[in-house]
């Protein structure tokens, strides 16, 4: 169960469908850097429901073929530069969704059902571009209008960062339960944790309710500050100066390359 960050990155194969949490949840930037360092290719990222810096970096580094999300957002830092550049260059297949449909697709996978009805969406142009969404009807009320059905979303891997994990693979995520859903819906879940908890998270009645059982988890690596430069809920905020520097550099090809050199390749080479 316990392994290294590099091993986690090695266990996300090229072409894998990888579920990622948004920046306000648990973001394993440590593993994202290791994925870039190993030259991951053709990933299909699934933002649950959006992606932030990790998406922008992976896209810029050429690791991503497809991105499925309700949004790509760096929140107050403004538009995502490498995402926008890739869209402009036609270098990225974007599957635009909406938050509740992504949650519903994952819940369908969680329940092992092929699809799930979702409210709203009818009349949105999103629907026209999705062959994994369709219009159906309530079988109990013929009079009822159209209802959208979304196909189950079953990621190969969920990659997240959490405040605590134990050696049994139990992972404490507190109230950030989109990560619970992701773990249930995915074949494998790989986790970096701020701290390794000495004991069994499921044995503490106050920790267990916020814990993903080890049953769903296939690898855990310790990574203090593993969400940096993004923040981790309840632990630390984003590194504002670093992110502004990233934003500045990521506007150009050379600037982005210099960022990767400094923060991805150089630390790796120095090991």
């Amino acid at each position: 169960m316990m392994t290294s960050i590099e091993d986690l990155a090695a266990r996300i194969p090229d072409g894998a469908r990888v579920a990622l949490a948004p920046d306000y949840s648990g973001v394993s930037m440590a593993t994202v850097r290791a994925l870039i360092a190993r030259g991951a290719k053709d990933l299909h990222l699934i933002g649950v429901p959006s992606v932030g810096f990790q998406g922008d970096m992976l896209i810029g580094a050429g690791c991503v073929a497809t991105l499925e999300a309700a949004a790509v957002t760096l929140d107050e830092y403004g538009p995502a530069p490498q995402f926008n550049a890739a869209i402009k260059a036609g270098a990225l297949k974007m599957i635009d969704g909406t938050c509740p449909a992504i949650h519903a697709g994952l819940q369908a996978a969680e329940k092992g059902i092929p699809f799930m009805p979702v409210r709203g969406i009818v009349g949105s142009d999103l629907l026209t571009h999705r062959d994994d969404w369709t219009i159906g009807h309530d079988p109990f009320d013929e009079e009822d209008g159209p209802i959208v059905m979304v196909k189950a979303i079953r990621p190969d891997v969920t990659l997240i960062h959490a405040p605590l994990a134990d050696c049994h693979g139990n992972v404490w995520i507190g109230v950030r339960r989109e990560m619970m859903l992701m773990a249930h819906a995915s074949r494998n879940t790989l986790v970096t944790a701020e701290e390794i908890y000495d004991g069994d998270l499921l044995a503490d009645e106050r920790l267990a309710p916020g814990t993903i059982p080890g049953l769903y988890v296939s690898g855990v690596a310790e990574a203090a500050n593993g969400a940096w430069p993004v923040g981790l809920f309840g632990r630390y905020g984003p590194d504002d100066a670093h992110l502004r520097d990233y934003l500045q550099r990521a506007r150009t090809v050379d600037g982005f390359a210099s960022y990767l050199d400094e923060f991805v390749h150089a630390p790796k080479a120095a090991e």
Partner: protein, 247 residues
């Protein structure tokens, strides 16, 4: 008198008035003015209004992860929400995806978020976009993230209530499926609104001025509300109210 308050304070007070009497208002990420308006409405409600701010660690009441806001809306437990748009058109369609012929967008926006859903399920959706230009307020959006109106047999419990911009307030007329100019902010004119609005809209013969916040509203806003908003939007609170986050 119109110099006694900041433009943001007018917008906050205007939006807050639209929340009077409601039970639960949710506010999305990156929404300092709607968020502050919700907190002001809460302060005036005597405990009657619940405010859920996404991305806030102290104002979020949710414990079921990212889906809970959406489930909660579908349960009918959220009375008002705010949406914006890179483009908004005269039928209240909103575009959060991009300009141009999708998927080959010339300008890409972040994405639709939950708009394609919440617009249908929250009874009172207030469209808020401070930038009031013909670039934003267009005749027809290039991509409908979420439609302003739906066919009759569509399950739709909510939709556009009003559109608040930096220049004016539009009401949305459900029957006519059009916006109607409700008031113009102090210092702005009908001609200016017309010039910067890309879609046609209705208007009364005599368009009133958006009411200025009164002294007690301003006192509340600059006191308890400013303090409450500082946790979530420190930069905004510092700029508008001069507050400093003690945390």
């Amino acid at each position: 008198m119109s110099t006694d308050f900041a433009p943001e304070e007018l917008l906050i007070a205007t939006v807050a008035d639209m929340l009077t009497g409601l039970g639960h208002v949710a506010v999305g990420a990156q929404s300092p003015i709607p968020g502050t308006a919700a907190l002001l409405a809460r302060a005036r409600s005597g405990g009657g209004l619940r405010v859920s701010m996404l991305g806030s660690e102290t104002h979020s009441p949710f414990t079921d992860g990212g889906r809970e806001l959406f489930d909660c809306a579908a349960q009918g437990r959220i009375d008002a929400f705010f949406l914006g748009g890179g483009q908004i058109d005269g039928q209240a369609n909103i575009n959060l995806v991009g300009i141009g012929d999708y998927p080959e967008t010339k300008v890409r926006f972040p994405g639709s978020f939950g708009s394609a859903y919440l617009y249908f399920l929250v009874p009172r959706v207030i469209l808020f976009r401070e930038e009031h230009t013909a670039r934003v307020l267009v005749p027809k959006v290039d991509f409908v993230s979420a439609p302003g109106v739906s066919e009759e047999n569509t399950y739709r419990k909510g939709g556009p209530h009003a559109l608040v911009t930096g220049r004016c307030v539009f009401d949305f007329d459900d029957a006519a499926k059009r916006f109607r100019l409700q008031s113009i902010h102090p210092g702005h004119t009908v001609d200016e609104v017309r010039e910067h609005t890309g879609f046609n809209f209705d208007m009364p013969d005599d368009v009133p001025e958006t009411p200025a916040p009164d002294a007690s509203t301003l006192a509340l806003l600059r006191g308890d509300v400013a303090e409450a908003v500082t946790e979530r939007y420190p930069a905004f609170a510092a700029k508008v109210f001069g507050t400093v986050n003690a945390a």
